[in-house]
């Protein structure tokens, strides 16, 4: 997305003033981490972080957060008690049950959307799709709003796939997700062996000098985008330690499980510990049109323990207080069990779980009827959820984004935060 020339977005202003206040030319050369260490620490302490667990394909609410045992739609599983008094969830999540005092449930979600792509869009942008325009995704939005402008860290990282350049929309390339495909760090993070650190610094200084001279008298929006990507790259190289996933102990690996999702949760923990603003972990694939129950035994069997371990580890490290955790997907699954023992797409009565920063652990909002076919109390949609996420991390969702002087609502207007699950 092209940035408007001479655009005075809030980010540009704050970023410039920050740099003027705290650093010099060296700062813009990408050694901000050193120059602003103190300032960065200060920001980091206050900084809110977010982790989304994206259960791709659509997890069944009946086999997770809103079970309906002993009804026509219930399926074979029972409920279990949890660490939150009075809150019962499906027996497929025994480890998560022990963390429910950290988590709140929203059981009245009705997004009225049964299409994978459109559902995913609503859940990650807070808006229905409109032709010809892309709203920024939650990760890019929070990267732009929460990540300190001079942070050496990328604001939005996708672990285990997903993540497209389109997600940033008008927020620009700085907020495009960095995808760690197959759990690998980005390529080319290490300086080439034939080049010394001083040599690298020298050549980047000349590069900058040539580029600055070129920009004189020319439109600069695009040269700025280009130059800032060199700063970003340098920053990333300076903090490649956050991608070093080789140092986990055997005990930790065992705790999370050796399968890819277990490892990705462990990586997410490290990213949160390193201060990354927004991390999205994707677990595929819950699209259980047939054999729904066997499917969920297997998938949730993989999800439950590493997820619960993640929540508990984040809490133990004192990070949960400022880290918002969201478990979501594009839609739920049909209460009615189809002929192939499957459940199909169902956007009209399903659940989302969240916890941590700003969220009241153990709270439950919304209610579905006895066999789960519709919401009977406190119905909410993607807009309500977005208002809630923004409030949870201390941001005002009613203050719009501005793009080309036009306001764009951060979350569907006319919806409100789900106050009863916020602290």
């Amino acid at each position: 997305m092209k940035c408007q020339y001479a655009c005075n977005s809030a980010e540009h202003v704050s970023r410039r003033s920050f740099l003027q206040g705290a650093g010099g030319a060296l700062g813009t050369l990408g050694f901000g981490g050193m120059v602003h260490a103190q300032a960065a620490k200060e920001l980091e302490r206050k900084q809110k972080q977010v982790v989304v667990f994206w259960l791709s394909g659509g997890v069944s609410q009946l086999e997770t957060w809103d079970p309906k045992p002993n009804t026509d739609n219930g399926g074979p599983f029972n409920t279990i008690e949890t660490s939150a008094p009075g809150v019962h969830i499906c027996e497929l999540l025994p480890h998560t049950a022990k963390q429910m005092h950290h988590l709140a449930l929203v059981r009245g979600v009705n997004t009225k959307e049964n299409n994978h792509g459109k559902g995913a869009y609503i859940m990650q942008t807070g808006h229905r799709q409109t032709p010809g325009f892309n709203f920024p995704y939650l990760g890019s939005a929070f990267s732009s709003l929460l990540n300190p402008p001079d942070s050496p860290l990328p604001g939005y990282i996708c672990v285990g796939g997903g993540g497209s350049a389109k997600e940033a929309s008008f927020l620009g390339p700085r907020h495009v997700p960095l995808t760690l495909a197959e759990g690998k760090p980005p390529s080319n993070l290490n300086r080439h062996k034939t080049l010394s650190a001083e040599g690298d610094l020298r050549r980047r200084r000349i590069r900058k000098s040539l580029s600055d001279r070129f920009a004189r008298g020319r439109r600069q929006a695009e040269t700025e985008v280009y130059n800032s990507s060199f700063d970003q790259a340098a920053n990333l190289m300076g903090r490649k330690d956050i991608f070093d996933f080789s140092t986990f102990s055997d005990a930790e690996v065992a705790k999370y499980g050796k399968h890819p999702f277990g490892r990705q949760c462990l990586m997410a923990r490290k990213l949160v510990e390193s201060g990354v603003t927004f991390t999205k972990v994707t677990h595929s694939n819950y699209d259980s049109h047939s054999e729904n129950f066997n499917f969920h035994i297997e998938q949730l069997g993989e999800f439950d323990k590493p997820f619960a371990t993640f929540v508990s580890d984040i809490y133990d490290r004192g990070l949960l207080e400022h880290t918002l955790i969201i478990v979501m997907c594009e839609f739920g699954r049909t209460p009615r069990i189809n002929q192939r023992l499957g459940r199909d797409h169902w956007g009209s009565a399903w659940s989302v779980a969240l916890g941590g920063a700003g969220v009241q652990g153990g709270a439950v909002s919304g209610k579905t009827n006895a066999n789960g076919t519709k919401v009977i109390d406190r119905e909410v949609n993607g807009g309500h959820l977005f208002h809630t996420y923004y409030r949870a991390v201390g941001l005002d969702p009613t203050e719009p984004f501005y793009f080309r002087d036009r306001p764009f609502a951060k979350a569907t207007e006319g919806t409100e935060p789900i106050k009863e699950i916020l602290v």
Partner: protein, 560 residues
């Protein structure tokens, strides 16, 4: 074929008259002068914006023009020698001669092939027609300067059944013959309309984009499908004699489907003739048989789209060529040509359209006229003082050249030329040097760079994006490190062999090779300081660092 000045006068307000006066003063006879298109372009651009001369950037210097026109017409930067020769040349017509030379070069056909490959195929994977067949078709077409409407007609009438000429069928066959995919791209590329939304409903924000327009185009194609020919053992395009488009808006509750005969936007409809059921086919459909209908709807589409009567086709093409060279369409974005998004210079777009039709869709002629214009040859730079005085000149005034990020193919070619990798390969080829042989030799490296910069894919400049993985590649990948290693005849090697006492010559070598220009004093001094006191290995390292800084600088990344 020009127009008489007197034809122009009524179109202009008085503000244009001084420009015309200037033109006349500069040696044009009043009465009999034919004003060529490039001069008319400038008149239109000047007339549109009040006090244009005060806000306009000056004409580009020779070096700026050389780099720009080389990238635009041949997809690469000139060699150091070409740059030196051009800059030293004293011929007052040297710009015009350069344009002719570039248009006649094999690099021109290659560059146009690469450009139109992306426009027409959006980097879709080659599946049913090989990339080589397709590229050869495009390259040959541009080399022989095939009229643009003929090129498009060949694509739209191809079915892949001629085994010696399957290239043009790739447009249909590698979209899997899928009616919606084809409809959308025909509308986008040939009619200047992004009709994607109109598949399901009238466009919610664009009044002129109707669902019936979408299905009018679909109706030409709805009976066609990909068919694996058992004899050819290849996928070809087949067509049935029956089948109608059906549509209803998802916004409107209606049980009844609508339909439409084939029709291009609001052009004339093509109702099917009455044919007895028994006579519907020349070759009847059967198992493993490619049916041939007596009346082919698809057979009408090349004429319906590409004929001169369909002005929209010529207009979209003229606007696209303009955008390719000027960095922005007169209608912008180029696929949103509708009444609520009028062109910045409506009369100029009409003129380009008329003239492109009158010149029988002669692509080289159009590119020549565009590049000869002052509008194209304006600098991308204005004096800082001039900018302060006129802060808000929109890009659409075309008062200052718009910087265009290098396309992935331009980036690859420019990097390989600037670092001297291309020179090394030229030397190796010796007598066997041809454009094709050189292309072949550079193919592996350029594909690595193209792949890196083609993500995310985009057709035209306008959504510049620089991704961290690209920068990390340029900075640290062994491939990039290899390009700045000293090898006999490459840039680092040539610079290293210049006397260490003569840093000015080194600066000259670097600037001519990478930026196609001579350094300023300030820049020469900077290079001198960078190299001062360095010898042997240290000096080589410094030259590598400099070369890297040049090819990663903003000046290199953009066509300015």
């Amino acid at each position: 074929m020009g127009r008489r000045i007197s034809h122009l006068l009524p179109r202009f307000a008085w503000s244009a008259c001084w420009a015309i006066a200037l033109l006349l003063a500069s040696g044009f006879a009043t009465e009999a002068a034919d004003v060529s298109l490039h001069q008319q372009i400038d008149l239109h651009i000047v007339a549109k914006t009040p006090e244009f001369d005060k806000i306009a950037a000056p004409l580009a210097a020779d070096d700026e023009f050389l780099r720009r026109v080389s990238l635009d017409l041949t997809g690469t930067i000139p060699t150091r020698e070409q740059a030196r020769q051009f800059l030293e040349g004293a011929d007052p017509d040297k710009r015009q001669k350069l344009i002719e030379q570039l248009l006649a070069s094999p690099e021109y056909a290659r560059h146009m092939q690469q450009t139109f490959d992306v426009i027409l195929m959006r980097r879709l994977a080659a599946k049913n027609v090989s990339a080589a067949e397709w590229q050869t078709f495009l390259q040959k077409s541009f080399a022989e300067n095939k009229p643009y409407n003929q090129l498009v007609a060949e694509i739209l009438s191809a079915d892949g059944t001629d085994p010696t000429n399957r290239g043009p069928a790739r447009f249909y066959l590698d979209r899997n013959g899928e009616t919606n995919a084809i409809t959308q791209d025909i509308a986008r590329v040939f009619l200047g309309r992004n009709l994607e939304c109109a598949q399901c409903h009238d466009h919610p924000e664009v009044d002129d984009y109707l669902q019936s327009h979408y299905y009018g185009i679909s109706a030409f194609l709805v009976r066609s499908y990909n068919f694996k020919d058992p004899k050819l053992k290849k996928v070809v395009f087949a067509e049935k004699a029956v089948g109608e488009v059906k549509f209803k808006s998802v916004f409107v509750e209606s049980k009844k489907d609508n339909t439409t005969p084939p029709r291009v936007i609001d052009g004339k409809p093509f109702p099917d003739p009455e044919i007895k059921k028994a006579d519907l086919y020349v070759v009847k459909p059967a198992k493993n048989v490619r049916p041939v209908p007596k009346y082919s709807r698809r057979g009408l589409i090349d004429e319906a789209i590409g004929s001169a009567e369909n002005r929209r086709f010529a207009r979209t093409a003229a606007n696209r060529f303009w955008a390719i060279l000027m960095g922005r369409g007169l209608v912008h974005p180029i696929d949103f040509d509708h009444s609520a998004n009028p062109p910045s210079h409506p009369e100029l777009l009409d003129l380009l359209t008329d003239e492109f039709i009158a010149h029988k869709f002669d692509v080289k002629w159009l590119l020549r006229e565009l590049t000869l214009s002052n509008t194209y040859q304006r600098s991308s730079r204005r004096e800082p003082a001039a900018i302060a005085a006129t802060t808000d000149v929109p890009e659409s005034a075309f008062a200052q050249a718009i910087m265009k990020p290098l396309s992935p193919t331009q980036m690859a070619a420019a990097v390989l030329q600037a670092t001297g990798e291309a020179d090394v390969q030229r030397k190796t080829l010796g007598d066997k040097l041809t454009e094709a042989a050189l292309h072949q030799r550079l193919n592996r490296l350029s594909n690595i760079i193209i792949k890196l910069f083609a993500d995310p894919a985009s057709e035209l400049p306008g959504d510049f994006d620089s991704r961290v993985n690209q920068v990390l590649f340029l900075s640290n990948d062994p491939t990039s490190a290899g390009l700045v290693n000293q090898r006999a005849g490459n840039l680092v090697d040539r610079a290293a062999k210049l006397s260490a006492d003569n840093s000015a010559a080194v600066a000259d070598e670097l600037f001519l090779s990478a930026f196609s220009r001579r350094p300023t004093e300030e820049e020469t001094k900077e290079v001198e300081q960078f190299l001062t006191g360095l010898t042997d290995k240290k000096r080589i390292e410094a030259l590598q660092e400099l070369t890297w800084a040049f090819i990663t600088s903003a000046e290199f990344r953009f066509n300015h």
